[in-house]
Each structure stands twice: as structure tokens, then as C-alpha cells.
């Protein structure tokens, strides 16, 4: 059996005062009410007994748990793991704990997590929402539960969010590819209605258009989340084996790039000699890739910190206006898109 924990009651008994007095002493700011002599004895006893306040009881009374629910696609994905770490640090600085859950991009799992965490009385959420989770987000709004979306957002809903300008990021990347002598450029994205993905594709189209380049149907590929490996193969095969094979590819996520580059290797395509590459996000994996990769770098630290900041503001004052933060990604230019 766990040694029963020391409570205010135990201190009160030991010192010979009421529980209330002990409470007043130990909640600092109210100390003035209590005589110095008694306060000293209470503090001494608290130290001797190694009193640790029961946060559960505090939470029940106050309705606050100082806990943030963090819902990501998959904590074992380096991109999300990195964000999780940043959020953890930032939250902890402000006295908040993080409870996380992985949705695996499934709306149902996401809903289960939300329900679960609401029952655990989290004070708010930071969510990278899955496709089709609009109703869940609306529910949170209706219930006035504070939350901030990250990485993705639903433009049709007014919510807090912190994301990058995906359109611009993709646009700049493709524009760069064009500038470095590429005309036949393809894009590989996930097959999803999620706005950030659409924006990345949109950015691609606009950059092509702005540069007066035609886009062939075979150059734009959307791949199923749940079968990346096969999807990538088919997509790349189709991009390369037609009368207008692409000479450059924009991968819209880290995972897509990893799988794509592996397959290009199998096909004995060399980067950048045979094909140019730009990818979203970084990854340890790329460190060992023979050709330094041009990629779109998201300001993860700012995203995480801002999300926590907005959430905590919102928790303290739920009447605040929702904030929409659009950050800029940076195009890090390396060898992989240089074919001159």
C-alpha cells in the first residue's frame, strides 16, 4: 500500500490548529491573516512532514488542472516529436503539464482522445487536427473549451491557429526550382482535404502558372496516408514513365520525401543530376543523404511557443478574440535543386 499522503489535516492535527489556518498559511498570499507565530509552526510542520499539496483536490475546487491536452498525428514521427518537446518545455515554464495522444490521422481516434481528455478536465487543447474533425472542433468551440490548432487549420471555422503560410512556402520552393532551370516539375502530396495540403498544392500550381509553365496531369500526385510506400512507387512511376517525365519533384512532407528518395535510389535516379528535389521539413534522415536537400524549414520553436502562449492567454481569459497566426517558412537552398 502506498503510504497515505500528508494532507492539510495531518499538519493541522500536529500543530493543533484548524485546517483552514494551515491552508491560509500555505497559500502564501493570504499569510498576512495568520499570526507569525502560528505561521512559523505550520510551516515547520509542513516541512517536517514533507507536505505536498494534492493537485487533484485543488483542481476539483478550482476547476483548473493546469494541464494541456496535446493531440498529434503520431508522437513517434520526428516532426511531431519535435513540436511536442517544444510545447512540453514551454508549458512547463508556465506551470502546465502536457498530456498527449496520437490520433494516427483518424478522426475517430481524435474524438476519443478529446472526450477522454475533457473528462480528465484539461484546461485546453493544442491540436494538429485530422481530416474530417471539423465537428470536434466546433464542439470544443460550443463548449467554450480553449484550444489552438497547429500545423493545420480549417479556414471555414474561426479558431485560434498557428500555422505556416503553406501556399507561400510551396510557391517559393517551386519558383526556385523553375529558376534553377527546371520546367517539368511534379508534386507529391497526401490525398486529403486538409487545407494545409491543398495550399501546398495550390502554391505549386500558382508558381507554375506565374512562370508560364503548363502542368501535366501526371505531375500532380496525391497519396493515401495509410499506404505511403506503395503510393509513392506508383506516383513516381507515373511521373517518370510518360511522354513528359518530370525533372523535379516537390515533396509536401518529410515522410513523403523519405520514401520518395528511397524509391528514386532504387530506380537509380541521381539527385540532382537526373532529378531535382525540394522537400518540406527537415529530418535526421536527410543528414546522410548523399545530396544535401533543399527544403522548407518551418519555425517549429516559434510555432510551439506561440501556440502555448495563445492557449494560456485564452485559458485565463476565454473572452479574448481568436488569433490566427500565419508564420513564414524558410527555403533552405542546398544542392538538390541545382541542376545547372
Amino acid at each position: 500500500m502506498q503510504k497515505k499522503k500528508v494532507s492539510l489535516k495531518d499538519i493541522a492535527k500536529k500543530v493543533g490548529v484548524s485546517i483552514a489556518t494551515v491552508s491560509y498559511v500555505l497559500s502564501k498570499d493570504k499569510e498576512s491573516k495568520v499570526s507569525l507565530a502560528v505561521a512559523a509552526r505550520v510551516k515547520k510542520a509542513a516541512k517536517e512532514l514533507n507536505y505536498q499539496p494534492n493537485q487533484i483536490a485543488k483542481s476539483l475546487k478550482s476547476g483548473k488542472t493546469f494541464t494541456i491536452g496535446l493531440i498529434l498525428a503520431d508522437i513517434s514521427n520526428p516532426f511531431f516529436a519535435h513540436i511536442a518537446r517544444i510545447i512540453e518545455d514551454e508549458a512547463s515554464k508556465k506551470g502546465y503539464t502536457v498530456i498527449f495522444g496520437s490520433s494516427d490521422e483518424k478522426a475517430e481516434k481524435s474524438w476519443d482522445l478529446i472526450q477522454f481528455l475533457i473528462n480528465r478536465q484539461v484546461d485546453g487543447f493544442i491540436i494538429a487536427p485530422t481530416e474530417g474533425s471539423q465537428e470536434q472542433i466546433k464542439y470544443l468551440k460550443n463548449q467554450n473549451i480553449p484550444f489552438v490548432l497547429i500545423d493545420r487549420c480549417f479556414p471555414e471555422l474561426v479558431t485560434n491557429y498557428v500555422i505556416i503560410d503553406n501556399f507561400k512556402a510551396a510557391f517559393e520552393a517551386v519558383d526556385r526550382l523553375v529558376k534553377t532551370a527546371n520546367k517539368k516539375i511534379g508534386v507529391i502530396a497526401y490525398s486529403t482535404t486538409l487545407h494545409h495540403m491543398k495550399e501546398r498544392i495550390h502554391g505549386y500550381y500558382e508558381a507554375m502558372h506565374k512562370n508560364g509553365l503548363e502542368v501535366k496531369k501526371e505531375w500532380v500526385k496525391e497519396i493515401d496516408f495509410f499506404d505511403i510506400k506503395e503510393g509513392i512507387k506508383t506516383a513516381i512511376d507515373e511521373m517518370l514513365m510518360n511522354k513528359n517525365p518530370v525533372k523535379a519533384i516537390l515533396f509536401t512532407t518529410n515522410s513523403l520525401a523519405i520514401h520518395g528518395l528511397k524509391y528514386l535510389d532504387e530506380l537509380n535516379y541521381r539527385v540532382p543530376q537526373n532529378i531535382s528535389i525540394v522537400s518540406f521539413d527537415e529530418g535526421e534522415a536527410f543528414d546522410f543523404y548523399y545530396c544535401p536537400l533543399t527544403h522548407i524549414k518551418q519555425p517549429l520553436l516559434e510555432i510551439g511557443r506561440t501556440a502555448v502562449k495563445i492557449l494560456i492567454e485564452q485559458i485565463s481569459d476565454p473572452s479574448l478574440e481568436e488569433q490566427q497566426i500565419l508564420m513564414n517558412a524558410t527555403l533552405i537552398v542546398r544542392k538538390s535543386c541545382d541542376r545547372r
Copy 2:
């Protein structure tokens, strides 16, 4: 303001019965006490109001939070992120939530986290302990707070733990290096008193000894956690630039291997032509390394699942004996140690 949540009180009022009756109805197993008619009305009302029990209140009453505290070195390290994900899934299957924290290998941070999570009334801990955290572990034992150590353990303390046989893993790896024509083998580890690291080094020594090979002082390097990059450089320089340069290196962690391989690249050493390599753990990063890496694969899924299983057993019955689980790692042989 957050819409105030529906409580038993609200249902009771709506139905016109006491709170106790509602509680009896909704706690299923006791349903028999209540008349079917009333039970039906209560259930209906609960559904209509979308009642969600307040877990905080439940926890206060029961003393159980169904929450596990997970303390790792760094959630953004893929090795730990992977374990975290496994633990999350396994815990969630059994109705537990995970609260995590990163210790950054610092005993002080670890202690803060433990205190913090105890106040949050976690039911137990899964911990990858840091160097010098023995007292913290003893404290948990004294307080009879259930916990399971993973990845590392303190042999001088009787605790639950789930680790791999590090000695054996290192032994087999080095033995394999010897069998593939290497005689001059070095090892790079962290400079720490943590037992798992010592065991890995010990395994190296024993394998060398068993094969009748002498170990030069310059071949065994221990590197500071907090300055890997520089440490690796110095270590490798010293291993290579002496009258008995090594022809093979065992890296005792993933991160050491990543930094080490990068530096070897800088030095224009080719694997396995100029040097053989074996590493602990896998990593996405290795996928793009030009030479497939021989590595020691830990059974992460089993480790995570077993740790959760033992912890929950221990939570349910704290009088159970501590369990020490030693799992076997697997040596995955690839090209990086094949110099014949």
C-alpha cells in the same frame, strides 16, 4: 466562460431523484439496486444532457487517476519518441493516460518532474532514469509509489525494470566484428556511471578478451552527454591517429553513431572499406547512409508493453514482488561490418 459541465446533480434535478440514485444507476454494476423504471429515466436524462463524469472528482474519491507518469531523457529523440508511442498505445488500451516529461539526462530535472507528477497523483511511473537519480528511485520505493525502470537500471537497487542484456548485445556485436576479420576494434560510449553503458563497454572488453585480443587504451572512448559533437571528433581522431589505429568501431547509441559517421565522412573514411561499424539501435537516419549498418536492435515493442503491464500489475497490487526483465537484443548484420 466554459459552459459549466453537466454533473450528477443536474441529472438528479432533472429526473427528480437524489444524486446517489443517479450515481448508482450510472456506475453500472450497482444497477440492480435501482428500479428499472427510474434507471431508464436516469439513463435517458444522462444521454440527453450528454453527461460526462468528472474524472477529477472520481480521482479524489478513489485515490486513483489512471494516469502514468513517463520520464524520458528527451521525447524528441527518436528512440524515446518511439518508446513513448508504444507506451501510450499500451496504456490507453488499459484505460490509462500518459503524462510525459523530458529529463535531458539531468537528475535535477528528473526530480522536479517526479515531484510534479506525484502532486498530480499519477498512479505510477515509467522511467528511463538519469545518472545519479538513485535517491529519487529510493524515494519512490519508500513512498511505495509503483514504478518501472526502462532502458537503464540500478543494479544496486531492487526495483522493477525492463531492459535488454546490454552486456550480451555488445559482446555479440564485437564478437561478430572479430569474426569478420577485425582485430583492432574501438568502442565509443557516453561518459556516465549508468549501468547500461558500463555493461556495453564491459561486453566489448569481454568479447575482445575471449578472442584473445588486446585492448589499447586509445580504443575505448567515453564522451560527454552534453557535448557529443566535439567529443566524437576528439575520440575518433585519437582512435585513428595513433600507432594502433582501430579498424572497427562499436557505437553504443544511435546518436553517437550518427555523429560518428558524419565525422568519418568528413575524414573520407569509407565504410566498410576503411572501417567497420556496428551501432546500437536503428534510426531513420541510417536509411540513407550509403552502407547498410549492422546494428543491435532492441525489442522496443516488448519493452514498452512489458513495462506497462508490470506497472499496472504493481498498481493493482503493490505487494507484488519486483520484476526484473532482461530481454535479448538482436544483432542485425548488414554490410557495415563486412570487410572480407
